[in-house]
Symmetry: C2
Amino acid sequence: MVDILHRVGVISSVDEVYTALTTIDGLAGWWASNTAGNADEGGVIEFRFGPGGFDMKVTELDPGKKVVWEVVDGPEEWIGTEISWELKQSDDFAIILFAHRGWREEVEFMYHCSTKWATFLMSLKSLIETGSGAPDPRDVKISDWH
Amino acid sequence: MVDILHRVGVISSVDEVYTALTTIDGLAGWWASNTAGNADEGGVIEFRFGPGGFDMKVTELDPGKKVVWEVVDGPEEWIGTEISWELKQSDDFAIILFAHRGWREEVEFMYHCSTKWATFLMSLKSLIETGSGAPDPRDVKISDWH
């Protein structure tokens, strides 16, 4: 069992980050422009990218502190994995501890997703700090796999 | 035991990427401007950043295919860990499979290093594709921990 982990700090409040993680508009601003669904606890959020997408069930919401999603549809390697966002304030920074856990194998796609998550976290940071993120389809391209 | 994994594709040949990983000038162009030491197999490369640095022993060099370093000095969490770079050509892309293995615990510093490695891999990609990387001290800042 292997995990993808990341940490970024956003010059903002944890509440602002929480909003960007728990509203359709917020999510569309840094991850997938084409995002729809129900972002409430128990709801399913549908993220759509060029080649496919992910459906995430919102399994935990703790305002300003934590968000957890379970992947209920998408690439086979993702189904059943869990994505969690822990937030804490450290002076001027809202610190995000991100984890994508439950990968069954260290497949090459996991290496790709790890790097891609980092660029999307930087997109989230940019969205909040500057008002402009880089969600799909204008996301940062990292390789032949986009 | 937890690992940091990343995958990027550079529009170039594996030989160009290999040079950027195995020469002092190459390394200084994308990771730490202040890099010195001996980049030959068995040698120790000294990377210096503002707050400190890393000494890496070069334990394996396979031209155009693989580079492995062992961390022999630096932050306590890094000592004894291993950093490997596997290269392969995929059409126009030199694919890098990066791994930083042997972390003893999922400490918060590991989350940070995972994201920071991603930004330095993008710096390496940029160095080769555009001639300009973002090594320390003009590296991309990701948080209160730089």
